[in-house]
């Protein structure tokens, strides 16, 4: 870990009591923190849930993502003292200069690692939202569409086409399935077991699913496979959306409004 003598003159120390918030997700900030003593919880806030990411102790650095983002984005997670803690806070101005002057290959590696971390944080949020939705029965508490209405996971029986959305040549065949339920966060799909024998359906794979809703609106979504279970004569797949366009969100939101 870093030697405290290395840090620049704008470094100072702060003490936090157990339970104190050190920084908050979605806040703007530029400082980097090094834990000198105590324990700090890093967590993501999604809806009303706090999702622990890591518990860090002496010598660990927190808030470093903002450094690589050059403070152009908000903090991606919150930090709270789990016990009385002392942290060293640094303004990274000089480090920025050093980083910019550093080897481009290392900056490229750091940038790719950062992008992966950001993608994974988004993925964690979607999983949590999905889990929250399922644990609350059929009702979603999500406000994914800005009307702030509530939506349901709807039981449906919709024929659909889907493809594996990898960039591999030779695996772009269109397959058939039936969507059995659909929500603002994902869908449940039943497929013929022969589909799986033709093309691997591995957890984590991304698929593009296309269907036409009963109201004649077309929906095309990218989904990540998060669950697969074999049933009688079929395979049930659980998928969460990778991303919804505004149009798709509105189309789905309208369709899923309570009758």
């Amino acid at each position: 870990m870093a030697d405290s003598k290395e840090t620049i003159a704008t470094t100072y120390r702060l003490r936090y009591k157990k339970g104190d918030q050190i920084f908050k997700q979605n806040d703007f900030g530029i400082s980097i923190y090094k834990i000198v003593s105590g324990k700090v919880l890093i967590f993501r806030e999604c809806e009303d849930l706090e999702v622990p990411i890591a518990i860090l102790g002496n010598g660990s650095i927190i808030g470093e993502m903002i450094f690589f983002l050059k403070a152009t984005e908000v903090r991606s997670a919150s930090a709270r003292a789990l016990e009385d803690s002392e942290v060293e806070v640094s303004h990274p101005k000089e480090l920025f200069k050093e980083y910019e002057a550093g080897a481009p290959i290392l900056k490229l590696m750091a940038r790719q690692a950062l992008n992966r971390l950001k993608r994974m944080n988004g993925f964690i949020d979607r999983l949590i939202v999905n889990e929250q939705e399922n644990s609350q029965g059929l009702t979603s508490s999500l406000n994914l569409w800005k009307s702030h209405r509530r939506f349901y996971r709807k039981k449906v029986n919709l024929a659909c086409k889907y493809i594996v959305k990898t960039r591999l040549s030779g695996f772009n065949a269109t397959l058939d399935g039936v969507i059995k339920n659909i929500s603002m966060t994902g869908l449940g799909l039943e497929i013929d077991p022969r589909n799986e024998s033709n093309i691997p359906h591995e957890i984590g794979e991304v698929f593009q699913v296309e269907t036409i809703l009963p109201n004649a609106r077309e929906v095309k979504v990218s989904c990540t496979l998060v669950r697969s279970s074999k049933g009688r004569g079929c395979i049930s797949l659980g998928m969460t959306y990778v991303e919804l366009s505004d149009d798709t969100r509105k189309t789905l939101g309208f369709f899923l409004l309570p009758a």
Binding site: M1, A2, D3, E6, T7, I32, K34, I53, A54, S60, I61, I62, E64, M65, F67, F68, S90, L95, E98, Y99, G102, A103, P104, I105, L106, L108, M109, A110, Q112, A113, L114, R116, L117, M120, N121, F123, I124, L127, I128, N130, E131, T166, R167, L168, S169, G170, F171, E202, I203, G204, E205, V226, R227, S228, S229, G238
Partner: protein, 134 residues
């Protein structure tokens, strides 16, 4: 993504891996860093329910960097294997990478290492969540 021209300066050798061949095995030791020059690789994590695909990397994307950036003989955080078609890889000049990385101040190295550690830990959490949801 297109291959960043800077990568070419570091490619020490090239290798073609047959389809589905394991390039890096999770848990093993090693700090070679690779770049995909042609084709795709799949990144997988071990779980209670077998290997789970967590990412697919294509041309221009670097892998193996997490163990390198963490240093101190860190073990490999994931398995990387060639996808369903052969993949051409560039192996980056490790000595040159180490030279550049060592030239950074300990503080800057610690910040980069911290990023790498978080990628590893978050990957593990996602796999646990995927398995729990399946």
């Amino acid at each position: 993504m297109p291959i960043d021209p800077v990568v070419y300066e570091y490619i020490a050798s090239e290798v073609v891996c047959p389809a589905n061949e394991v390039i890096i095995e999770e848990g093993s030791r090693g700090d070679w860093v690779y770049v995909v020059l042609e084709g795709h690789v799949k990144v997988k994590k071990r779980t209670q329910k077998g290997l789970v695909v967590i990412d697919t990397l294509s041309e221009g994307e670097i892998f193996g960097e997490i163990a390198f950036l963490e240093g101190e003989n860190a073990d490999r955080s994931a398995t990387v294997m060639a996808a369903e078609v052969p993949v051409r890889l560039g192996i980056l000049d490790k000595e040159l990478l180490i030279k550049h990385y060592s030239a950074m101040s300990p503080t800057l190295r610690a910040i980069i290492k911290s990023l790498a550690v978080k990628v590893r830990e978050t990957t593990t959490r996602i796999c646990a969540a995927l398995v729990a949801a399946s």
